[in-house]
Amino acid sequence: MVKTKFNSKNNRVIISVKNLKKDYHLGSTVVRALKDVNLEIKSGEFSILFGPSGSGKTTLLNLLGLIDVPTCGTIALDGHDTVLLNRVKRAEFRLNNIGFIFQKYYLLDELTALENVFLPAVAKAGYSSSLLAKAEGMLELVGMKERTRHRPAHLSEGEKQRVAVARSLINNPAILLCDEPTASLDSDNGRIILDLLAKINKERSATVFLVTHDDRQLKYGDKVIHIADGMVQKGE
């Protein structure tokens, strides 16, 4: 049961999950991480998946991001059934349609901030100077214009996450998945990142799907989906 706080940009369903289940096998024990999850997210919505640790938030996010495969059920992203895609097609879909922001940023240490940002763009379209300019523009958007040549080791935690946000946006993804993006940050930096995501959601009409266990962040969402024990509880 999902309810939107306000009607967003359009009514096109961009994420549709039906009867989704995910089991993990730990030796002979089967852990049911997700139990029959159903939800729909419309294009341009800022949705928040809220729940305690171990509730299945990240599992659901990983399934939506196509970096894990469900035990059963369907995931349709922008009208495409993704469950039957092979590894290569999933990677291609991820590169073209999904931006991922991780809790731990996951930047490549050997690359500069600029290189980290334009890497997905180069993988998608090949190197060009316009892409470089676009990557610089992305870094400017997240307030990192002055730090483009710095490597992750020389950036603060908040700066790293901003670079990760810029990287997730470089290929103009239809969906932006955020896995507790402020969990490793102090409250000021956390707020900066959330404001940034809200700005991106509004200005770029990006569909943002954010996972958190922090109820202070719920105000950012157009829609809040509660999850507990692997089941979607309610929306508001």
Partner: protein, 407 residues
């Protein structure tokens, strides 16, 4: 598309290597030394094999007559030669008197064998085997010719600032009987002889001996008409095997006819074959060790980049890009190893060629052999390539979440 992927892979590999120069230098040095070791182990033994192989015998004829077991000499040499000579396939014959001998020169002594050869004989063909100095001046000249290896051994024995000079005099102590009785003066026969030349028969035993005119040796040892054996050379178109030698045995005479191979049955051929075998086994073992180490280095490299692989996959970068990235790095490691190793080996070879290990049978230094080099290089590159592909494909199949979390 392929070019784009390749460019991106090269970019990632270059960035990674540039940022890990320390590791790169370490790995290059390790692989370089490893490759140099592979080359050195093969080429040093190859050099040894060639050095020994240079001793492939060209001495004597096809057959030789020898006294029956338990007897020291052929007593009626002329009668034996006459009987054997009836066989029309025989070209040349010569009696030989062999005797243990201690050669004393410039305060040093060396134990060797003295071969008494007929003046002008054409079976051993000593005259045409001389590489330094000259042949005997006559059939009873008190002169000796040194075998090439014996000369080297002697050179290593005499004082370092001295040299073996031709036409110098040396003392030969000839031991007439094998059953040495130190109180019987008849056993030891001393003779001052002039060193007039050096001969090379490319035979270890012959090159380790001295040669003296047969009559001179007979006079010294008072062994007229006796010989230790008769060397026989068959006519040029004749070839017989070891089994066929006994057919030449003269009827009713107390000698045995043997093939020259019987005399040389612990000889150079076997030695060369043995060293060749050792060389190939050593090369094989070191190349397998090298392959394992190369595979391990590639494995370590891919494991070190597990997180990178996970991140690249998570942001949607295709497996073939990091597969190419790993292949480039793996091949680059191997190429650096081959280049560094070849350089190290070349330095070592240059040094050893300038300062060879002096052995009695010749100078010893590594010798380059192209086939082994190609095998070693191909193996280095091949193993790197295969290991890179294997580990890249393996890491491409790992669970992305586990990989980026470092589980």
């Amino acid at each position: 598309m392929m070019l784009r992927n390749l460019k991106l892979s090269i970019f990632l590999a270059a960035k990674d290597m540039f940022n890990n120069l320390g590791s790169l230098v370490f790995v290059s040095a390790a692989l370089g030394f490893l490759f140099a070791n592979v080359l050195f182990s093969r080429f040093m033994l190859y050099g040894f094999e060639k050095s020994i192989g240079g001793l492939i015998p060209k001495v004597s004829g096809n057959l030789y007559a020898t006294p029956l077991r338990g007897q020291s000499y052929i007593y009626d040499t002329q009668r034996v030669m006459a009987a054997i000579g009836l066989n029309t396939t025989i070209g040349e014959m010569t009696p030989v008197l062999e005797m243990p001998c201690v050669l004393e020169y410039k305060g040093s002594r060396i134990v060797t064998m003295a071969w008494g050869l007929e003046f002008g004989e054409q079976v051993m063909d000593l005259k045409n085997s001389i590489v330094e100095g000259r042949y005997f001046s006559g059939p009873v000249s008190e002169e000796i010719i040194l075998g090439k290896i014996l000369k080297r051994r002697f050179k290593l024995k005499i004082p370092i600032n001295e040299d073996i000079a031709l036409e110098d005099t040396a003392k030969g102590i000839f031991i007439k009987e094998y059953n040495i009785d130190k109180f019987n003066k008849d056993v030891y026969k001393d003779k001052y002889v002039k060193i007039v030349g050096v001969a090379d028969f490319r035979d270890y035993i012959a090159n380790n001996s001295i040669f003296i005119p047969l009559q001179t040796l007979r006079n010294v040892a008072t062994l007229q008409d006796r010989s230790s054996s008769v060397f026989i050379r068959l006519k040029d178109d004749m070839k017989i095997d070891q089994e066929g030698a006994s057919m030449y045995k003269p009827y009713n005479l107390d000698v045995e006819l043997k093939h020259w191979k019987d005399r040389d049955d612990y000889g150079t051929d076997d030695l060369v074959y043995g060293f060749n075998l050792i060389s190939i086994i050593t090369f094989g073992v070191s190349i397998i060790c090298a392959a394992i180490l190369v595979a391990f280095i590639v494995f370590y490299n891919t494991q070190k980049k597990r997180r990178t692989t996970g991140i690249l996959r998570a942001i949607g970068i295709k497996g073939r890009i990091f597969l190419t990235f790993f292949i480039i790095e793996g091949i680059l490691f191997a190429v650096i190893g081959v280049v560094t190793g070849t350089g190290l080996y070349c330095l070592l070879q240059m040094y050893l060629k300038a300062h060879p290990i002096v052995m009695p049978f010749g100078d010893l230094y590594p010798m380059f052999e192209i086939n082994s080099y190609i095998y070693a290089t191909a193996l280095f590159l091949g193993v790197s390539f295969m290991a890179s592909v294997y580990y890249a494909v393996k890491s491409g199949k790992e669970n992305i979440i586990k990989v980026i979390r470092g589980d």
